[in-house]
Symmetry: C2
Subunit: 410 residues, 2 copies
Amino acid sequence: MTRRTARDLRSDSRSAVLRAFFSLRTATRQELSQHTGLSVATVSTLVKEFLTAGVVHVEAVVSSGVGRPLEQLRLDPSRGYIVGVDVAETYVETTVFDLSLDPRGTVSVPLDEHQNSPQYVVDGIRLAVHGVLALAGVSTSSVVGVGVSLPGQVQPDLGVSVFAPNWAWHDVRIKELLTAELGMHVHVDNPLKAIAVAELWFGAGREHRDLAIVNLGTGVGSGLVINGELVRGVSNNAGEWGHTLLALDGRLCRCGRQGCVEAYVGVNGMKATLSEIQPDHPALLQQEQRRFVDAVYEGVVAGDPVFVELVDETARYLAASLGDLVNMINPEHVVLTGWTVARLGDWLIPLVRAKIPDAALRSSVAVLTVSASSLASSTVALGMSTLTLEHFLAAVGLPSRTGPAPAQQG
Amino acid sequence: MTRRTARDLRSDSRSAVLRAFFSLRTATRQELSQHTGLSVATVSTLVKEFLTAGVVHVEAVVSSGVGRPLEQLRLDPSRGYIVGVDVAETYVETTVFDLSLDPRGTVSVPLDEHQNSPQYVVDGIRLAVHGVLALAGVSTSSVVGVGVSLPGQVQPDLGVSVFAPNWAWHDVRIKELLTAELGMHVHVDNPLKAIAVAELWFGAGREHRDLAIVNLGTGVGSGLVINGELVRGVSNNAGEWGHTLLALDGRLCRCGRQGCVEAYVGVNGMKATLSEIQPDHPALLQQEQRRFVDAVYEGVVAGDPVFVELVDETARYLAASLGDLVNMINPEHVVLTGWTVARLGDWLIPLVRAKIPDAALRSSVAVLTVSASSLASSTVALGMSTLTLEHFLAAVGLPSRTGPAPAQQG
Ligand SMILES: [Zn+2]
Ligand SMILES: [Zn+2]
């Protein structure tokens, strides 16, 4: 076993400088130093690498009359492009970003959820990637990396989809397949990690160093940010809050365990709760999950007591399970995201705020805020592009500006 | 609100070098650099501060014939002493450590659990601190700091005992009281944080960067280490796993919530389980918690089916709740500690290992090991002394070797 006693402080510093560029857009070395807390010397070393790699350029030179003129630096969007890919059971959505992570175009390709071979999914991804590059007028050779989010458990360093329950995938070497198919550098991860990174860099993470990002939809899960960094755990499974207990020996969850949070606050969990309130309710016949949530929304807006009770009970389950998360992590902020939140957030969030003091320690609740995500859609693609940019930059210093992209991005 | 977007990388580096000294005992700058992953230049800067403060000294100069002679450095135990203080409801235990954290003597003073004024507790601490200094022949002036662990929720930066449930303390400014009473620098924290730091520096943390330290006794709780660092959360409450749900609407917990883990695997939880197995069991009359656990141990050793069932059911609850912790944090290792583990660990741990695969994701269990702590007793005092040493070193560079200790250690 390798004893890993030291943090990778150099990579932390690089990340800090990069994030400072996204916050400040344009900055001098002095401003970057001030923003990150790193010494000007450390910042200068990293900026030099970024300049050599062409990732950063000098936008202006400001002379104040006193002292040396200061260079105003910013990320150079023309250095290349990144494709963010969000793969779900029913679609592939791709977005092209320039190197300052501004979106340049989005394409969505449907997937047949009854087909699930790796080759079928890889074909869908290839179509969507080439489609979005054509749409944005970007050539394959100017793409520095493709970041692909895949459902289920993913090990980014091995490039393996460890387990995708709905596809029955086990240990699929997806990065290898995609690299061969696309002829571009590929980085893989799972959607919760991507969403968390997007929030960390562009959403709630700009204001909070300790936060939990909670995603509610068919499945439920979380991403954890502690001390300004994404928590992965040893096999990239940290944050599987959706499969922590709400009730020992409770409802059967699709993970095989009984009583998981997901079996109560995921969409099928909400259906189970409705069937306990009124077993013959017509909404239970609705097979499409989004339509079911639409029906709940319309019912609660109309003041239908059954749906009001359903939302209240769901909020009770959600507050109880968020209370566990708060007691475990003691975050400053919880961001709620996902399509259930997009639809029902206005009803759920105030109820959760009211109920959470009964579910967690007082001195943890006292410092806590809860809100819906402020990010627009495509957060999975944005997060995957951010991760891919980080991987690209981790390898800068090696390639020349005109040379090929780094040979191995992990 | 302060935007804290940057990590304190300098303090991380200092900690890394200090921990390297504890691992290596004697080391050259080059060895410290190799062990920590920091550059030789960074190591040299920090070593210079440590040398100036007299915390480190040159033990030998080794000449290899080629190149410059290398200085072998080590922590200088004679620079001063630290007192670690473990305050519980029924006792105060103090241990004196030299600056290389070798123990020099221990004293224990009983507390009357029915007395609970801050002044009563402060008096007990003063007696125990002066007692142990007398025992070890250490003068007050050579003490660089006193680290005091207090039960309940503690905010170290404010020096406040936020809430100590058994004493009904609320927002007691304990650091101020103790500083005035002792005339020494005082650092306060809670026992779970102290135990976790002791494991991180001297126990399982030497082998694992992501671990959970789980303490079982009257109360139950955990300390979390992620990426080699203790997780505190925003109000120092992270790791309150004892007050996460095992069962919604379940047994009433002493925190006021229903269904917490502690109400099932704490000693009173075990009593409640026994009363469900056999409501008139004579062991339920035992008021002393340690004697109750002794009775369970003797019963299970003798093969008494009631106690065998009790231990089995307790292991089921423990595995289920550790499964939640594993799903949330995805640690490499779980260390079990505390006096219930000291007594029942040989029975509980194999059962927990067998049951945990049913309670957590397969790819998280695949990378997990579970064991009892390898540390001897007084881990709370050792952990508090470690934290105090870190605080002391955070201020070095300011005082001269012969001057007073830093004026403010936070
Ligand atoms: Zn589950
Ligand atoms: Zn509780």
